[in-house]
Symmetry: C2
Subunit: 107 residues, 2 copies
DNA sequence: CATTTCCGTAAGCCATAGCTTACCGTAAGC
DNA sequence: GCTTACGGTAAGCTATGGCTTACGGAAATG
């Protein structure tokens, strides 16, 4: 149920913005905060949540912390989504066949 | 930004349980509520949220409403995730090459 | 050392999300 | 027509999540 944490983490708009900023490459905290409508501590808190969800990783670099995307969490989410998609589609097909078989006429 | 609504909708655990119950096929509201630790009105509210996010569809069937999974919302989410995945991976590769090029020695 | 930059954490505030109970409309069954 | 199943909505409560300001610690800089 790792995907659950990822979903919760990505549900918040500003947290998602933080995350999406990392798409272009690793960033320091203050760099990430620049341009966002919230304070730097807020960004720190978001990064903590993202990290606990396995969506980002961080490394120390002198006095600053550089955050980057961690494929782990994103992968788990993708896996869940794909499975779900397949199963849902299968059930959908099955439903159609069932309707086709025993009379669909009796509205 | 349709995927945003889907993320918010799927972030809540019980709402996700409602949604996952539909994987096995269309269900009525009271049937969905049976077995869940919340009241039927709560399930109704969750279904409303899921519907607004494009994740489920509903049709009337006599006095009951049958809900089913709507591929729309799930598809949008999948699309976003896949794009994100590709871009993140590309940036990751780029980062490695950059490190390899100009000296990585000066830790 | 003193100072400055960078960042995480604590405390506290406020809006909102999720739940319950209560109520009302609508379609079927007798 | 009554009654009964079904389900959407309103009102209200409470917990929690995200934000801010304030603080403290650690590494670079002089």
């Amino acid at each position: 149920m790792a995907y659950g944490n990822a979903l919760v983490a990505l549900a918040d708009p500003t947290r998602r913005r933080v995350f999406e900023r990392l798409k272009s490459g690793p960033q320091s905290v203050s760099r990430l905060a620049r341009g966002l409508p919230v304070s730097r501590p807020a960004v720190s808190q978001h990064l903590k949540a993202l990290k606990e969800a396995g969506l980002v990783a961080d490394r120390a670099e002198g006095t600053r912390r550089v955050y980057s995307i961690d494929p782990e969490g994103l992968g788990a989410l993708r896996k869940w989504l794909d499975q779900f998609w397949d199963q849902a589609l299968a059930a959908f097909q099955e439903e159609i066949e069932r309707e086709a078989k025993h009379g669909k006429d009796r509205k």
